[in-house]
């Protein structure tokens, strides 16, 4: 069990391309931290630097109180689960899990005890004699996790472990991983590009983009209080709508001027926060779930209503997504499926103004 600290970690490749641009991150003991971001954001590189599979260009990595920059992977007391599982194809499941212990010269009975214990946690006791070839995707995933568990390392590293599974299995294994973490409580660093995976698994989510950390925080905080335009757009599905707007008015009452002549009053609670930006161009951000049919919001304060004609209607079962365009910007609204809407039909839409965000288009920071 250990804490992990990254200090000003930089990864620079030949030709001066920086994959990771000096990030700081402190991970507490027993914590489950998820690094999430689009491909090429540096999340995998960061994980691989922690594992010792990539050299660190500058900065320091501290695992369990000692700096491990020049410690080879085998001495870092870590275990890793790879995207393609990286099971040794010529070994049985038992040998796959025992291999790391064998190389570390554990005695046979201890190896057996640990492997059987891990097999019990993961419910793969009946697979121990099989070769990886004879396993299904989900079973391979379990064995890969078992290989990490038996080592009882200071830190678990997961590199997109679920992306080779089909959608249904992915949800199932997600739960499994969370359960395992709650059992063994090992500090875990988990990399994924899937924000849903990040939200469901993490104690804290680290959103990365272009080699920088955009924001670190618990899932709910990222959802409700994104600090940058990138985080606002990345977290949540379908993603947040953005529209250019102008903030008008004086200190007492502010109004948001949207294209097509739509005016939205700013809730009084936020007036003070936005007052300094009065008269400026801003970006108005609202999640689809906060852009709904009027009936749902009847009893709420601070609801603004405007009319729009959706061009595409997507019934999803538990909800219906409406897509319309406002001056070239695609907007998505989330309606109750009970409300019947046909394409081209003008419908009133309620905007929950308490849930909106304003973004400074110059700095991309949420105001």
């Amino acid at each position: 069990m250990a804490q992990v600290h990254l200090r000003k970690i930089v990864k620079e490749y030949e030709g001066g391309v920086q994959a990771v641009k000096g990030i700081d991150l402190d991970i507490a003991d027993h914590e489950f931290v998820v690094l999430v971001g689009p491909s090429g954001c540096g999340k995998s590189t960061t994980l691989r630097m922690i594992a010792g599979l990539e050299e660190i260009s500058s900065g320091e990595i501290d695992i369990g109180g000692s700096i491990v920059n020049d410690v080879p992977p085998r001495d870092r007391d870590i275990a890793m689960v790879f995207q393609n599982y990286a099971l040794y194809p010529h070994m049985t499941v038992y040998d796959n899990m025992a291999f790391g212990l064998m190389l570390r010269k554990f005695d046979k009975t201890e190896i057996k005890r640990r492997v059987e214990n891990a097999a019990k946690i993961l419910d793969i006791g009946m697979l121990l004699d099989r070769k990886p070839k004879a396993l299904s995707g989900g079973q391979r995933q379990r064995v890969a996790m078992g290989r990490a568990i038996v080592r009882d390392p200071a830190v678990f590293l997961f590199d997109e472990p679920l992306s080779n599974l089909d959608a249904k299995l992915r949800v199932q294994m997600r739960t499994e991983i969370k359960k395992v973490h709650q059992t063994v409580k090992t500090t875990t660093i988990y990399v994924t590009h899937d924000q849903i995976e990040a939200m469901t698994l993490a104690d804290r989510v680290v959103v990365m983009n272009h080699g920088n950390i955009e924001q670190v925080g618990p899932p709910q905080e990222l959802y409700h209080h994104p600090r940058t335009r990138f985080v606002a757009g990345f977290i949540g599905s379908p993603s947040m709508n953005f529209m250019p707007a102008k903030l008008e008015g004086n200190g007492a009452a502010l109004t948001l001027h949207l294209p097509d002549g739509i005016r939205l009053p700013i809730p009084a609670a936020r007036t003070a926060r936005y007052a300094p930006h009065a008269g400026k161009d801003v970006l108005f951000g609202i999640r689809p779930e906060h852009l709904t049919e009027t009936r749902q919001t009847e009893h709420r304060a601070n609801v603004a209503v405007f009319e729009a004609a959706p061009e595409v209607v997507e019934p999803m079962g538990m909800e219906t997504l409406l897509h319309f365009w406002m001056q070239g910007h695609e907007i998505c609204a989330r309606f109750d499926p009970a409300v019947e809407v046909s394409p081209g039909q003008r419908v009133p839409m309620a905007v929950d103004m308490d849930q909106m965000h304003l973004i400074d288009p110059q700095t991309d920071l949420v105001l």
Partner: protein, 313 residues
Amino acid sequence: MAADGTLVVAEARPAGHGRASTLQRFARRRSTIAFLMTLPLIAIIGGLVAYPAAYAMYLSTLNRRMTANIGLGNFEILLENDTFRAVIWQSCIFAIGAVVAKALIGFWLAHMLHAIPAKGQRKWRGMLLVPWVIPPALSTLGWWWMFDPSYSSINWILNIFAVPSVPWLGEPWWARISVIMVNVWYGSPFFMIMYLAALKSVPDQLYEAAAIDGATGWQGLRYVTLPMMQNIISITVLFSLIVTFANYDIVRVLTNGGPRDMTQVFASYAFQVGILSGNLPRGAAVSLFMFPVLAIFAYFILRGINRRNKEQM
């Protein structure tokens, strides 16, 4: 990459000098291990291939007793020699004739194998590869016996169909054809197996798509199979050209260059001149005549393989 990474560390943090040098040592150690692992290979390539090649060039500039350097004298003498000019001619006929025949037969057989149900293919393939498996020097002995002037079993069959006996190894042209025949017999299975592997790598959907687009079987071959196999065909042909051009076994066993040096190829002539007549420098010169041709083929093979690698990425 590792080495670069450590360099950056060393520059960025001069304070952490000790640590950076540990890392550098680690990277250097890995390079050293890798170098040590390849050392036997380097020794073999350097000592037994590159050095002899250079030595051959030096050797070819010496006189017969290796006492004086006569520059390009050996090459000049060879080029003025009628026998050697016949050797060049014969080597080209042999290599081109044999490779074209092998490629066509191999292609045909690969297609025929591909056309029959998959479960029977293994058995047929197993039988058809037998000529390639027997060491050629030994199977050529069998052919030699089949060509024997008085006991030829091939002539016996020809005679049944009222075809007169053929002087297989007695007449220059028949001897050339015999040598080519044996080489084709020995080498066609190799082409067949290479083309079969290539055929199997063409996805069936492509043919199905072509068929739905209205392609006949012949058009499927012309527009799907051949373009997909183009690279492997050229690699195989070039490779076989090198091997056939430099072939020695078959000529040595079947005709030993005869009759009257009319079937001598580079390799057998070099052997004749260099080892049997004891003129090593001139023998080396004969071998070296092969070099430019082989170098050109090798260049194109390498290009083909690089292109193939890029396609696969």
